[in-house]
Amino acid sequence: MTTLSLENADRRKAWGFVAPALVWTVAFFVVPFLFMAAMSLWSRQGREIVRAWNLDNYLRFFGENALLKGLTNSLEITLTVTVLSVLLAYPLAWIIAERVPKRFQRTALILAILPFWTSYVVRSYSWLLVLTKNGVINQALLGIGIISEPLEIASTRTATVIGFVHFFVMLLTLTIYANLVQLSPNYRRAAADLGANGLQTFWHVILPLTLPGIMTGAFLTFVLCIGDYITPQILGGNNELVLPQIIMLQIGRRADLPMASALSIVLMLAVTLAYALCARWLKIDRV
């Protein structure tokens, strides 16, 4: 960036511009975060929060099966959702980018992500409507005669996965499409020119070139999915809780803020780990 001046008066001016945003971030993000980290090392006794430093909360997490299961549930569901969403979204993004005539592509894309504009809560609720015992799916299947008794889809892990995949397929279609479209068309022409058919062009050229974009989208999916409370709460039932649900339990029913804080730190660590893996992978395969 071109700079205008380094003089003291200008530097003070610069700080003046930048300070409000920095102060806000520090005051309302950094400090609360540090405070929460600190609180994770305290404990709740009765109605008070005892400010004695200890690792009790973390030890409980690794000790208590129910809590640990929350993390494994989160990871299992998130990984399933990520893989499924990528596999389903890529072909759709491909079809819109390659097969749809250019002047309809924008419309097709907007249609593909239109349900984004329902409220997130309402969208999950809509899936509840669709999957419930006397909802559309069950009644259709009963009507056709494929099943004789309504399926229990709602309030299960499957429903949660469906709800998540629905959201992330839309998100990934958008990101993968953007990725595909900015590839120079000459790559495809060169590959064809040198004798490659459609499948070969895709496998040897297009797929490797879009892989970084896919990884970024997958990472985004992972982060958003693992930290989500709404979809599992509405669609998942009460049996296999995920970590965000357990955290909310600690806040609400049990009013155990220290425990909630500790579990949040665990969640953050899981995300950081995923980020580290992704960054390392992207670095190895630098284009």
Binding site: L4, A21, M39, T118, Y120, R123, L128, L129, T132, M170
Partner: protein, 263 residues
């Protein structure tokens, strides 16, 4: 030729199936908002506007809708203003440690909203500060500030500098330059980040849920509706939000973005 026909057929089938999957819940939502009956599930008994009447009569719901609008626009405005000023400062002046500071401003984008909410909750709790729409607004600025900053910062190009220099050369003070020259030049990205922030804030649930008490935003109020099970009323408010968003999007598309496309 045949191979191409076959692959086109497959493509059409796949696209249709996926579009069906994508639209299924929304179609069900909107259809059963007109349900003449108590349950928003098949069979569809007939068209009725009773649920739309119900939601417009529901004072709490309408209040929540208004609250959402206020919180969204106010917090987005603040986030835009802070983001713009910060982007201006970093782009036009060389500050020590700017990389770290910019990283700090972007950091909240990488953290789950639940954690941001929890952090603020623990602090407010300990300090004994009450929860309200103000606390929700603060939280929303936290999540939208990185976005506004990133978008506006990345659009401040070197070619803008000369225009600002010319303005200064002609006698404008710093504030005037910023107000009358820089801001208008960057209006597309300022508006983009504003509308994006409004969209995120409007629909945001977890921060609004944890950081409010009596006055709530729309997503939180809808959540309470869900406590009462499957209810066409929820369908109605959901459809209203959906269709209003689409309408707004269509208007924006036809006015703002169309103008950008024509050279």
């Amino acid at each position: 030729m045949l191979r191409h026909r076959l692959s086109t057929l497959l493509a059409v089938i796949y696209a249709a199936a996926l579009f069906g999957f994508i639209f299924l819940p929304v179609a069900v939502l909107v259809l059963f908002s007109f349900q003449d009956g108590r349950l928003p599930v098949p069979p569809f008994n007939g068209f009725s506007l009773q649920w739309y009447e119900a939601i417009f009569a529901d004072r709490k719901l309408m209040a929540a809708l208004l609250n959402s609008l206020i919180v969204a626009t106010a917090s987005s405005a603040v986030a835009c203003l802070l983001g713009f000023m910060a982007a201006y400062g970093f782009a036009r002046y060389r500050l020590p440690g700017s990389v770290l500071q910019r990283g700090l401003l972007i950091a909240p984008m990488t953290v789950s909203y639940l954690i941001i909410a929890l952090g603020l909750l623990t602090v407010l709790n300990t300090l004994g500060i009450g929860l309200s729409l103000w606390t929700v607004g603060i939280g929303h600025v936290v999540i939208n500030l990185p976005l506004c900053f990133a978008i506006i910062y990345s659009s401040m190009g070197d070619h803008h500098v000369n225009i600002e220099r010319a303005a200064r050369d002609l006698g404008a003070s710093d504030w005037k330059v910023m107000l009358l020259v820089t801001a208008p030049m960057l209006m597309p990205s300022i508006l983009a980040s504003f509308f994006l922030s409004v969209t995120f804030s409007w629909d945001e649930f977890i921060i609004a849920f944890l950081l409010s008490r009596f006055n709530v935003t729309l997503p939180v109020e809808i959540w309470s509706l869900l406590r009462s099970g499957l209810n066409p009323k929820t369908n109605a408010i959901g459809s209203v939000v959906f269709l209003a968003s689409i309408a707004l999007l269509a208007i924006l598309e036809l006015t703002l973005f169309r103008k950008k496309n024509t050279p």
